[in-house]
Symmetry: C2
Subunit: 417 residues, 2 copies
């Protein structure tokens, strides 16, 4: 009977631990077929460094609490394994560590890069005579994986941005007569505008609010943007601009990259929100405020989407189940069955179809003028933010779990990561 290895990869989300919970609880239910679940401390680096965490030391209660705990309970990392040709030693080391700890299952929880790593590990392990069953568990707030209808992690950040945009826009509406007329909120998504699109959900039939969205998929046109804001403020008295961090000008340069200098000539860091706010102030002479949500948005487990939590758990669970059925080099994907009522199921995608592909917003999800979403996009997004799934609170604060993360005794020599 083989043990399993589980690792979290790349930027964490508010529900990646729900996937971990699904993996570990399901493995525990199949004690006769799968041994211990070891987790990589700080992701795949933990495997390379043979720094494994023994999850069997955690109580059932602690593992269950992962379901409502944001961030990466075992640590994650931004570490992309190079190509096999370039750095075969890394892959060989992985297999060596897996062999030393009798690991036959590899569950890798991440985005496009980790899907690619997962595939390569599976392929090479076979060549090296120690075949590993490798299953990728999807995770990314960017929602940019192909095949799967949506990615666990996205629904919750979308809900956070939709809720926050609605709330802040009501604030601006209250004060616009004498104060702020344009509120700018910067959201994540360097390449794909899915999160920015979620800002537009703040406005719906029951509560119409003036929201202008700037997508990374649409080249920024200053004149058109200013005309849009001007017209919106003239009509409503105020507006909110939801701007993706990845918005670029026609020259392909990030708008946030303005070469800011302080009074002494030192380079300063800027987001794109203050750039947009500056335009609004300088060109339209309108009072502004701006916010940069940054990590708050992807960590906001307190306002997670229940749909997202369920799907994150389900993909983790399915990963173990399909691995036990002998499927290899695959990823549990979310398949939308119907919109009204929203129904979904888990299907199994081949990793070769997933790895290294990015899914952008289709053009017909973005309104013709480029500043909003279409009905088609709204129909796609709305189910993903459905339902609330509050964590337990104590003393006014959410009770998130911190695991013991007991290390497994090393059996091999050092390896330079």
């Amino acid at each position: 009977m083989k043990n399993a290895f589980y690792a979290q990869s790349g930027g964490v989300t508010s529900v990646i631990n729900a996937s971990a919970c699904g993996v570990i609880e399901t493995a525990r239910k199949h004690k006769g077929k799968i041994g211990k679940v070891f987790a990589g401390r700080n992701g795949i680096i933990g495997a390379l460094a043979e720094d494994l965490i023994d999850t069997s030391k955690e109580s059932a209660k602690a593992i269950a609490a992962l379901r409502h705990t944001p961030a990466g309970a075992f640590g994650s990392c931004r570490y992309k394994l190079k190509s096999i040709e370039e750095h075969r030693a890394q892959y060989e080391r992985l297999i060596e560590v897996f062999r030393a700890h009798n690991i036959g299952f590899f569950f890798y929880n991440g985005g496009g890069d980790s899907a690619d790593t997962c595939l390569k590990v599976s392929q090479l392990s076979e060549k090296l005579g120690y075949p590993i069953t490798a299953v990728h568990v999807p995770k990314t707030v960017d929602n940019d994986l192909p095949i799967t209808d949506n990615c666990p992690g996205f629904g919750s950040v979308a809900k956070y941005i939709a809720v926050s945009t609605r709330e802040a826009t009501l604030d601006v509406a209250s004060m616009a007569k004498t104060s702020t007329k344009v509120f700018v909120i910067e959201v994540m998504g360097r390449h794909a505008g899915w999160i920015a699109a979620a800002g537009a959900l703040a406005s719906d039939k029951e509560m119409e609010l003036p929201i202008v969205v700037l997508f990374p998929e649409i080249a920024f046109n200053q004149a058109k943007f200013l005309a849009k804001v001007d017209a919106t403020v003239k009509k409503f008295g105020y507006c909110t601009v939801v701007v993706s961090e990845g918005v670029k000008g026609a020259d392909g340069k990030f708008l946030s990259d303005q070469g800011l200098r302080d009074a002494f000539g030192h380079a300063q860091l800027g987001g794109v929100a203050p750039v947009i706010a500056g335009l609004v102030k300088n060109e339209l002479n309108l009072k502004y405020h701006w916010a940069v949500a940054d990590y708050l948005q992807r960590a906001a487990r307190h306002v997670a989407s229940k749909t997202d939590v369920l799907q994150a758990y389900a993909t983790g669970k399915a990963a173990v189940e399909v691995a036990l059925k002998g499927r290899n080099s695959v990823m549990p994907a979310i398949k939308r069955v119907s919109n009204r009522p929203y129904k979904w199921k888990i299907e199994i995608a081949e990793l070769k179809d997933v790895a290294n592909k990015e899914k952008f917003m289709p053009r017909d999800f973005i309104s013709e003028d480029g500043f909003g979403i279409t009905a088609k996009c709204r129909q796609y997004l709305t189910p993903l933010i459905q339902g609330e799934d509050y964590p337990p609170y104590k003393n006014g604060l959410p009770q998130y779990v911190r695991l013991k993360n007991v290390g497994v005794k090393k059996k091999l020599g050092e390896f330079k990561v």
Copy 2:
């Protein structure tokens, strides 16, 4: 029987409408003693412009929904009436409008400035032979009003900052091995550090997290700050810096005021978070991320403190009750009765003791090194974030109410505000 006038003043909060709900529901319960409640459209400007809203046109359901709706349902404004000597005409106009609409009660929902206005209106109305019963309803996220133990509006922003800081810090902890080591979050509070202090609540006995707080009450010392961050990152591997927007250097200048210029020499807007992040990067060479919560924090009704909601409602309710008992020039204040269990009651403060006074963080609430809070401060803050009070959701979004805000027919001529 006299009508009442209610207005919202200054920056709105996630619970100012709960106070409005308390005022209106309580007035409706005393139909024999108090007539209609008129609200000022966009605050006191609505009174000056004779732009009154007839709240009797709103259903009981709509008024009840104010309890869970953030921002200012009738509109608010930043408009401080000048001194009576300087601008007597404004006060006379207010009295004229009140007289024209048979208004005998003035409920003003705001901070220190509006407490002052409320007092002056009461005093002048008597001199002008049309005595108004004026009661101030406390509201400010800044928590800087005197007499009252705390201010409605603060508890919810404190909860939002404590929860968000906890969540984002867990995110950083997950990734610190290969990514961000220092996360900076900028919070409101230009003069008083109460909101920044709430960031420190993210760490407690059950979940120790490395949080460094920068208060406006403590002059920024760059060397001491960098040494603190350096030591904290060496010990924990990462840390979060909660910085108040109002932090100043020893020269008394706001740290956010760095005279930023873009590549073309145009002045750019900066918050204090990017300045702190820049220091961390340039002087300590640590990877950083930064967020600016801005309006998100004071609008975040989705994670409001139940204590805060109850107190906001209770002060609105008490305002009407004391006015009906004939008290004038007063403010319902929150009196802390005990800490464990937390008990509070409403007391009545004289407006002359409230107006134009700011309450800063006492020095013994700030740790000796200036970067954290003391046990005394924690004991003060903790009860204020207790309890959750979720709004109803539909389609994944909180269902906030928008009132009809039907105007009252004007009886007077124009007045230039």
